[in-house]
Each structure stands twice: as structure tokens, then as C-alpha cells.
Amino acid sequence: MPEPVPGIEGAGTDQGVILVVGGGISGITAALEATEAGKDVILIEKRPFIGGRITQLYKYFPKLCHPVCGLEINQRRIKASPRLSVLTMASLESLRGTAGDYTASVRIAPRYVNDRCTACGACAEAVQAEFNDEFHDGLGLTSADRSHAASDDSSGDSSGADPSGDSSTGPLKPARRKGAYLPYPMAWPERFVLDPRIIGTEDARRAFDACRYGAIDLDMTEETVELKVAAVIWATGWKPYDAAKIQPYGYGRIPNVITSLELERMMDPLGPTGGKLVRPSDGLPARNVAFIQCAGSRDRNHLRHCSRICCMVSLKQSTYTRERYGDEGEATIYYIDIRAIDRLEDFYRKIKSDPKVRFIKSKVANITADPRSGDPILHGVDTEGYRRYSNPHDLVVLAIGMQPSVGGDDFPFEVVVNRDGFIEPDPRNGAIFAAGCATDALDVNRSVQSATAAALRAVQVVNAGTMPGLESRRD
């Protein structure tokens, strides 16, 4: 059984329930803002833990603070919110009904671990099978799996590479995790997960025997629950554009070309490199790092829209070379326009004043790899005054574009989306309100802003049902 869901039969509540789909920063925010205003909220998340993308980020711009810091606060807010229920490994299958009166059927994948789990870790000790750790994105995977990992959250199987403890030298190996695992140290709910791939194997038995608390339930099966909800907040967030499709940059062909998300994992002290900033090809220090902007964005061959965050992400990441290598670290940012709007301009100015960071107004034409050194060589033209370049770097980071996680026909309901796949605010959406990166390419700050607004729109629907004389919203 997953977490108890008071909201389900509307038990103990006189008012409509708000369903939040997606447990990233936007979904969490929307759920909390609503429930802290006295509403009943159910939050569903498809991963085994909440937090979403930000759990995989090393630092935020422009403060260079740590994303899990705010997450800790939010998780504590959740623990203190009796009227908020969280369902993990859950996804919305269908939504029927009308604004104020929906029936949502939610599919819950088996965790094989019930709520008796104390997160002691005995199961992980006992289980032998290991898998690539999806928490670290594609980092260290072979090109093929890599682009795959980028497009969906799948990980390689247990065959092949052995767990890579030290990645100080030699090619970077993917981080591994056990078949029974806690996705990351701060994962909440603080409960282990069994990888479905060990079910039916000897390992499943081992996990079962190791648990002293009867928390392993190998008979757990996928279940579907029906929820009566008044409004839905859709906060399914974003996924990185598949870098392998940007052919001239050779992601997948050239090992020392990685994505901005992979760099975030690399900086994690508990990540595949133990926080070392190195070249995947040989594990040597990556001191001279190139950042390519609009990698997949503002491009009719890929994503037509501007992903907004990438400029700031690269400015932020340019400080990583400094952080690891001091004056030996250098960064070059290849850009079309630096989009550091409002107060973020302060951060841009600060970075610009660093002599170790170069800015070149140019969309890089293509990347070749030096067969001997493995250095990626960037070819193109500095359009300011026209200068041709062929610059070797230790590592290339693609400031990868942002696309909606759910797109096209994958929505479990009718909803109005724009050409880029983002949800448009539209009366035809009824009481389905999008939040965060489902609405546009947004940074964290604006996602939270958007989620807070979405929370009110949902609250309006709920109150319309309870407060006398309240028209339900029209516009």
C-alpha cells in the first residue's frame, strides 16, 4: 500500500480536492501553497521520490546556492501538512468529468516496499544486482544509451560495466546503484525502492529475507485508484532536448561533449566523478571548458523556442571551472544573445568581469575531435567583426534546450497547447491549470511564481463549490 490518502473518498473534508500532477518544484509549490491555505490536496509523482529535476542540480543561479536547501524546507512543510497526501510512482491515466467535479484514475506502479520501511538499508546490502544510476542522467554512459537516457529516464541493464568507485583516471564510467535503493540521500518519502528488474530473481528473495520489518512486499502489483477531484494542477515539468539530434556537435560521437545537465551531476560530490570536473574520454581534468548556447533552442531544426534558462545556466557553470581549478580554470561561452534579464544582469556583469571567462558571439558550426588528444575542436565564426576560429577545449558543455516532459497526444485529457508543446491558459481547459515548465520555458523562480498562481486558480474552483455566492472562474 502506498501512502494513505485521506482525500480519496473525500473523507473528512467538506470541500473539493485539488489534484497536483508532478512532484517537481512547481508541483510541490502548488500543492503546498494550496494546502497551507486550508485546502485538501493530493500530489502524484511518477518517480519514487519528490523534488524532480532540481534534486539533480548542483547549484542555482544567480546565488550559487544549493537546490536541496529549499527542498528540505518544502519537504518539512509537507510533513507538517496533514491535508496534503503524496503518491509516488503514480501517474494520471485518465480524467473524466467537468470543472469542479472530475474523476481521475491514477496508476500506481509497485514499489515492492511498503510503509513499514524504516529506510535502514538492509535490503540494499543484501541485493547483488547493480544498474546504471538514472539519477546521474546519461553521464558516463555509452553514446547510444546516453542519448536514450536524455530522451527518457531509462537506465542501462545490470550487464556490463562494474561499479566505478574511482573515476579519477581512465574513461568515465557510469555511476551504479543496487537493485534495492534509495534514489538519493535526501530522497523523500524516505523509503527504499526495488528495481522491477530484480523481481522474480534471487535478489528479490534476498531483499525480502534481509528486511526485519516486513517492509518488502514482492506481491505488490500495479494498482489504479479513482480520485474525485475538483481541479487539476498540471506540473509535469520539462525534459532536456535529445542532444544526439544536434549532429554537428557530435554528442554521442565525441565523448568530451556533454550536456549542461550532465555537468551538474559531475559537480555533485556524491556523483559519478565524486565532484571532479573531468573529461569523460580519459578522466583528465577539464580546465578549459566551452559552453555552447542554444543547443537545440531557437532553431527550426530542433526547438523553435528560446529555452530561457540556458544562458544563465552557462554563466553559472562558468564558475564551476573556477571553483575546481582556480586561475587554471577557464570558460568560453559561445552565444547568439545573452539573455540575462532583470536583476540577473548583475550576475552576467560579474561573470563578464572575470578575465578567465570569454564570450564569443557565434553559433558554433561544428565540432571535431583531435584524434590524438581527444580535445573537442570548435569551428565557427566570431560574428562581431568576423573572426574565424578553430578552438580546442578540454570539454564542451551543450547548454541543452528545454522541452515539455509531456507533449503531443500524451496528455490524459483535452488541453490547449501552443506550437512548442507548452500549455496555453484557455477556458477550454476547464479546471485544469498548468504550472511551471508545462506552461513555458521557465527558471525555478518563475516556475514557483507560476505554480503559486496556478494554486489560486485551483483554490477558486474549490471555493466556488463551498463558499456561497461564488461564481466559478471564467476567463
Partner: protein, 792 residues
């Protein structure tokens, strides 16, 4: 605390605790020293069965207060929550069993050449070791057991000094919202609040609603396909607002006084008719509101003091807002030159005019909306007559997001020419009229001088945020930005809210005069609980974002009202019912609490005593830490709940060579970091005693001196980053603590102790490896300088 208290201590043997520790001895400690009335052991306390035993004891009245001796207080929080019952947690799992040193890891005492190496806190535990059932020497078991014993003592002591928070009876539920400012942001906030069932009063200082947007011909599109300018939609908004039954509009009015707190803000609204009298006041009235939204918008930047922009020099150089006025007048007809009403054949838009520059008198920041605004305005011309040449001179085209790029493309497809360049001088073109512009074309890398019939300066936004309440201690010390920001705001700054708060009359500014939150994860965090900034007064933004922002701020205002109604704290300690209580007889009116409160929650009453406002308070305890006479405390968090814990720890005498290190760790970052370190089986000194605290700001120096007097060999404070990019969730807490700790040195001297014995660290939640290391370093330091001379 009238009723007699019966403490029940519940010792869990799960997660390896039972194997690593002697539970019977823990039980004995709890009973004898902890003076628990009832002690039970359980193999699996967090299981329904375990929790049930506790409930049963509570029900039968055998137990009134609960001490859970199991895992960290961060784990199983809701499992061990019992309404109306005080609960203390002894952290045996993460704090003791999981955080033991691995075999072979050098112990500081050994390095220090300790005579008795068997006295080490070493217990072999392979990584991922979960049971602690490794063969361990009796003496190793002993030191760990002592650590556990202390945790039991601490928890049992803590519970005796805490009571479950009781309602203050101050709560008032008032579902009305005051919106200051009748522009797009204000009207949106009002409508969205009203739609949720809350009553709203809009106070607008001018005679009509609409604000800046009412002076626009068209606005930037925000719905797909974002290809053409759209109607600002003000008329619709105004009529919706005016007819709404739950919205009252007060135009030609302003706020002359605001006092009180969420749920009961007392606001004096003054009608002022500019026609009559000097300040034009024509009577006022006072009303009560539950929360306040400040949507006072911005003032367009005035470029007249920047000669190189040629604004004063030529009548054919206008600002973007002036162009809107012209367009509004032209009603879609072709615009004519302001100077001589001749038709306009060429227009230049100068981006970042007076912005994104550290030159004095310029705005250092980017106003975000100007690039799209200029595209929109160039379209005015292109659409009226495609033969008009429109050039946008930019340094970066900033049209982010999905719609932004569409709009940029649409501008290009209509023939607007975009040139990357830097303007150096604009002047009058001469008899012919128009303006002469000198700029550097950065792509063709050449100086250009040419005439345009009209030059439009894309000028920025200056926030109408009133007086910067904390001007002297805001932390935006980027010299150039500071230099420019104030210079830009030439308009005489008069207060908007006229708060009666000790900390000043308006919301504190964050940077460049905007009243924004400092937190990335919490854009609506406010330092004046119940008062939220919305729209361009918070951050430069376009209409689309302002409407979203206003909706969000309405959500927060509503939430503040509901919280105030229940006496619950707002984020980050959401739901906390505890609240500072003062022993007035001891108060010396020193005002430290009033001054140091990061949220301006404390006023002074007529007798100049601190007056606490519950619903403004965020329960961080900074006042408690500040109070030199220690008369401020919370029911469940006080000088005693922590102070007595410190004293309850057993201090072995120096011959035993078992130092004691007190670690006061911020519960938001340092403490979770230690928890995670333990989960990963990182070890820290077995001699450390960690106590989580709400915020470093709540640390009263008495705790430190008491600890030293009690014979602790070292004291560590672990808090969040302070300074420009502070991460303290209570804004100034860690900063205040560091300030106070500078004073501790004198104390140390008086006591004849080394400075190294007390140290403050900034620890981030990600310092999973570092935090334990810091503690171990402290153990080494002590090994180096020797035990405290104050042990008895």
C-alpha cells in the same frame, strides 16, 4: 503546566540500535536520570504496533509527554506526531549508531598520542553497514553507549522544559485584502482574490484605474501565436473590477498609516484631491484588513540627465512610453514627427537606453521587457506603412521563452532591421529635423553616423517601492550597482504603506530599489509577513508576467489570512503554533529583540516594552537569541529546552580523556547534512553532542558560556551562509549569530580559555562530507590544546 506531567520514554531497538547499544542501560538512564515515569523498549517503534502502544499509554493517561528514543527528528515526523502532546526525540540511529567511525580511521586522540588508545570511538562498520553488529571492543561499545546515554538524557531534559504550544487567543480571521495600486497588477490581484471569495479594497492614488498599461496603445502578445501586438485589455479589466460585488475601489487615495498584523492590519486610507490644498487631503477613514498586496508598479526611467542619449537635445528623440502616448493619439494612423509633424520615414529604437550600464545615472539592471516592447512599437510603424524603415539597435535581443522568440521572428518577417550595436551619441539632426545617431555596428565592426526621423529610447523601469526600510543593511554591495541604482531614482521617495513598524515604513528593498524576495525557491518570501509585493514593484517584468505575479501574490495573501486565523506560522516554519512569550518583569527595554527581528514583528508599546505581533512572527527565535536578560522564549523552544539539555550531558573529568564537543546545528541545513552523512555512514567524533536549533539567530550566548562552564572542551555553531548571497531562511539569523560570537571572545578570555574552543561554521545542506569533517577537526584541535581547564 498545571496538570502533573508523566513522561513516557520509548526506546526503539530497530535499525541496528538494539545490536549496537545496550537498550536496558538506556532504559535505566531514562528512568533514573531522565526521570521518565514510564519506559518501554520496542523492536520496531515506528510500526503501527509501536505507535499504538504510545497512543494507548497516552489514552490511559499513564503518559502525558512522549520521548521517542529512535531515529533523527527529521525521520518519521508525522508518525511520531500526537496532537496536543509534547514530543522530544533522542537521535540514536543517525546521531549515534550510523555515524560511528570506520575501522582504521585515525582518531584525533591517537594522533595526539593518547595514552589509552582503547578509548577510541571506533567501531568497525563496512560502508552500508546497517546493524552495527560488528565485533567491537567493550571500551568502544562503552564510548558509543555513553553518547547514546547522553542523547537520552538530553531528550528527557528537553521534554521536561517544553509544553505543547497553546493557542495565543490572538487569532482573528479577516477575509479582506487591501490592494495598493490600481494598475494591471493591482486589478488582477483584486479580481483573482475576489474570485476566491475574498473581499478586496483597491487604493489607487491617481483619479482612475489602469496605471501604466492604460497609457499603452497595444501590448506585447502572450498567447500563441505571438505574432502581433494586442489590445492591453485595460477597459475589460477595469469594468470587471468596478462591477465586482466583492471589490471596492478608492481612487485619488493613499495610505497614511498601517499598523497591526496579518488578520488585523489597521489601515488609514486618505482621500486626496490634488485640486484642493497642498497635500490635498480631503478626509480619511480607517479600515481593517487581513492582508496587503502592494502593486504600486514602476516609473519610467527619465533619461534627461544623460546627455549622450540626446533626449534633451532633439524633440524627435522620445522615450518608449512617450511613443505609446503618440501611438495612442494616432489611433493606428501613421505617426508624425513630434518636432514638425512631418511624416516619419525612418525610426531607430535604441535598446538599453540608460540601462545595463555601470555609468553613474544609468540603471545597472535590465528591465526585461524593452526588447519585445521595441519590436511591438516598430510594428506600429511597419503595419501603418511597410515602406517606413525601422531599425532596432541592440546589444542582446532578449525575447526569452516560447512566445518571445515567435515575436522576434515575427518582427523580422515584417521587415524590422535588427542591428547589433552600441550608441555613442544622439543629437539633433539640424534644420531638417529628426535626430543624428552615432553608433558602432558591432557585426560590421565600424562607426556609423546617420539621421533618423525619429529615435525611440527603450528606457527601463524604476520601482515605486517607497522608502527602503533597511537601506543601511541591505546586502547588495556590488559597488557599481549600488552607485547607479540610487542615482537613478531621482523622484522624491515618499512612503507608500506608512507602516508603524519599528523597522521602517515600507517593505525593505532587495536590490536596485525593487521589493523582491531574496530566495530563488520562494519568490513570495516577504520580510513583512502578510504584505506581498506584486508586479514591477517586485521585479522588472512585462504585463504577462505581472498578471501571473499578481495572481501568485493573491494566493499568498489569502494564505496569510488563513494562517493568521489559525495562529499558524507562515513558511518556512509553516504550521508552527509556538510563539514568543516574554517575562516583562525582567525586560530592560534594551530593544535588541525589536532591532534584530528580521521580520519587523516586534513593536513597542506605549511603555516602550517590546510588543510581539504573533501573526507577523516567523518563529525563528532570533529575538530569543538576542535577549541579554533571556526573558523571551517559546513553549516548545526556549533558553531552557536547549540550555538544560546542554547541562544534562555527562562531563567526564579530564583524566578520562573523553572530551565533550557541543554542536549547535541549524535544523534547516547543517542538521540535515549530518543526517545524510550518517545515512552514508560517514562518521564524526564520538565525543560530539549535536543539538538542532531553529536558526543560528536563536542561539543565545548563555548556551555557549554555560557549556564552557560545564566543562565542555569545545563549542561549534553550524549555520547557513550569510552575506550578499545569504542562505539563512530567516534572513539575518546566521549573520546576527556571527556578530554575537565576535563578542564571545571576551568571555573566553575572562574564563581563561583558548579562542579555538568556540568556532562558527557556515555549513550548506550539501556539505555531507564536510560537516562531519569539521567536527572531527574540532576533536583534533582539542587534542592539540588539551582538555578544558574548567572541568571539575
Amino acid at each position: 503546566m498545571a496538570k502533573e506531567r508523566k513522561i513516557g520514554a520509548y526506546i526503539c531497538r530497530g535499525c541496528g540500535i538494539g545490536q549496537a547499544l545496550d537498550a536496558d542501560r538506556l532504559e535505566e538512564v531514562a528512568a533514573r536520570e531522565g526521570r521518565a515515569n514510564l519506559v518501554r523498549q520496542h523492536d520496531f517503534l515506528c510500526a503501527p504496533e509501536g505507535v499504538e502502544t504510545i497512543r494507548a499509554d497516552l489514552a490511559s493517561g499513564e503518559v502525558s509527554d512522549v520521548v521517542v528514543c529512535a531515529c533523527s527528528g527529521r525521520a518519521m515526523t508525522s508518525t511520531f506526531r500526537f496532537d496536543g502532546v509534547a514530543v522530544a526525540r533522542a537521535n540514536l540511529r543517525e546521531g549515534v549508531v550510523w555515524s560511528r567511525a570506520r575501522k582504521g580511521e585515525s582518531s584525533a586522540l591517537a594522533d595526539a598520542g593518547s595514552s589509552d588508545s582503547s578509548e577510541r570511538g571506533e567501531i568497525p562498520a563496512k560502508t552500508g553497514e546497517t546493524t552495527g553488529e560488528a565485533e567491537v571492543s567493550s571500551s568502544e561499545r562503552e564510548t558509543m553507549q555513553e553518547m547514546a546515554d547522553d542523547h537520552i538524557r538530553m531528550a528527557c531534559t528537553e521534554i521536561r522544559f517544553m509544553t505543547p504550544p497553546s493557542p495565543s487567543l490572538e487569532q482573528t480571521l479577516n477575509r479582506t485584502i487591501l490592494v495598493v495600486g490600481g494598475g494591471i497588477s493591482g486589478m488582477t490581484a483584486a479580481l483573482e482574490s475576489a474570485r476566491a471569495g475574498y473581499s478586496v479594497t483597491i487604493v489607487e492614488k491617481s483619479a482612475t484605474l489602469g496605471g501604466f498599461a492604460a497609457r499603452l496603445w497595444k501590448r506585447i502578445p502572450d498567447r500563441s501565436p505571438c505574432e502581433a501586438p494586442v489590445d492591453p485589455g485595460i477597459a475589460t479589466l477595469v469594468s470587471e473590477v468596478s462591477v465586482h460585488e466583492r471589490i471596492t475601489v478608492e481612487t485619488s487615495s493613499k495610505i497614511s498609516r498601517t499598523s497591526g498584523s496579518p488578520g488585523k492590519f489597521k489601515v488609514t486610507i486618505e482621500r486626496c484631491d490634488p485640486a484642493s490644498g497642498d497635500d490635498g487631503s480631503t478626509g480619511s477613514r480607517t479600515e481593517t484588513f487581513g492582508a496587503i498586496i502592494q502593486a504600486t508598479g514602476f516609473t519610467p526611467f527619465d533619461p534627461s540627465h544623460i546627455p549622450e542619449l540626446g533626449y534633451a537635445a532633439s524633440g524627435d528623440v522620445v522615450t518608449s512610453s512617450e511613443l505609446e502616448a503618440l501611438a495612442l493619439a494616432a489611433k493606428g494612423e501613421a505617426l508624425v514627427r513630434p518636432s514638425d509633424a512631418k511624416p516619419i520615414k525612418s525610426v531607430l529604437f535604441v535598446q538599453c537606453a540608460g540601462q545595463r550600464s555601470s555609468k553613474p545615472g544609468h540603471l545597472s539592471y535590465c528591465s526585461g521587457y524593452c526588447c519585445a516592447a521595441s519590436i511591438k512599437q516598430a510594428m506600429y510603424f511597419q503595419d501603418a506603412d511597410p515602406s517606413i524603415e525601422t531599425v532596432v539597435l541592440y546589444s542582446d535581443m532578449r525575447t526569452p521563452g516560447s512566445g518571445g522568440e515567435d515575436f522576434y521572428r515575427s518582427g523580422q518577417s515584417r521587415g524590422i532591421v535588427f542591428t547589433k550595436g552600441e550608441t555613442s551619441a544622439i543629437s539633433a539632426a539640424g534644420e531638417g529635423g529628426g535626430a543624428r545617431v552615432r553608433y558602432r555596428d558591432l557585426i560590421l565592426d565600424e562607426e556609423v553616423e546617420r539621421d533618423f526621423d525619429l529615435v525611440v529610447l527603450a528606457t527601463g523601469m524604476v520601482a515605486n517601492a517607497g522608502v527602503d526600510s533597511e537601506a543601511n543593511d541591505t546586502k547588495t554591495d556590488e559597488p557599481d550597482t549600488n552607485a547607479s541604482a540610487p542615482a537613478a531614482i531621482e523622484i522624491p521617495v515618499e512612503s507608500i504603506l506608512n507602516l508603524t513598524y519599528r523597522q521602517g515604513p515600507d517593505l525593505p528593498h532587495l536590490a536596485h530599489g525593487f521589493a523582491d524576495s531574496h530566495f530563488i525557491c520562494f519568490p513570495y518570501e516577504t520580510r513583512r509577513t502578510g504584505i506581498y509585493a506584486a508586479g514591477p514593484v517586485r521585479r522588472p517584468m512585462d504585463i504577462a508576467q505581472a498578471r501571473e505575479d499578481a495572481t501568485g501574490s493573491a494566493m499568498k495573501a489569502i494564505q496569510a489570512i488563513e494562517n493568521a486565523g489559525r495562529g499558524r506560522a507562515a513558511h518556512p516554519r509553516s504550521g508552527d503554533l509556538s510563539f514568543p512569550k516574554v517575562r516583562y518583569d525582567g525586560c530592560t527595554q534594551c530593544k535588541r529583540c525589536t532591532v534584530e527581528c528580521p521580520f519587523g514583528a516586534i513593536d513597542e508599546d506605549e511603555k516602550r516594552y517590546p510588543l510581539f505581533n504573533e501573526s507577523r512572527c516567523r518563529r525563528c527565535g532570533t529575538c530569543m537569541g538576542a535577549c541579554p536578560v533571556r526573558v523571551i522564549s517559546f513553549e516548545n523552544y526556549s533558553i531552557d529546552t536547549v540550555g538544560q539539555q546542554i547541562k544534562s550531558v555527562e562531563i567526564p573529568d579530564e583524566t578520562e580523556n573523553k572530551p565533550r564537543i557541543l554542536v549547535l546545528a541549524c535544523e534547516n541545513d547543517a542538521w540535515p547534512a549530518l543526517d545524510m552523512a550518517a545515512r552514508l555512514r560517514r562518521s564524526w567524533s564520538v565525543f560530539a553532542r549535536v543539538i538542532p536549533i531553529r536558526c543560528l539567530g536563536s542561539v543565545n550566548t548563555i548556551w555557549v558560556t554555560d557549556a564552557l562552564n560545564a566543562g565542555y572542551d569545545g563549542v561549534m555553531l553550524m549555520g547557513c551562509k550569510s552575506g550578499e548571497n545569504y542562505q539563512c531562511h530567516f534572513v539575518k539569523g546566521s549573520e546576527m549569530a556571527q556578530y554575537r560570537m565576535t563578542k564571545i571572545d571576551d568571555t573566553l578570555e575572562q574564563l581563561g580559555l583558548e579562542k579555538e574552543r568556540v568556532i562558527t561554521h557556515e555549513v550548506a545542506i550539501t556539505d555531507i562530507e564536510r560537516a562531519p569533517r569539521l567536527i572531527n577537526e574540532m576533536e583534533r584541535t582539542i587534542a592539540r590544546i588539551g582538555p578544558s581547564p574548567l572541568k571539575f
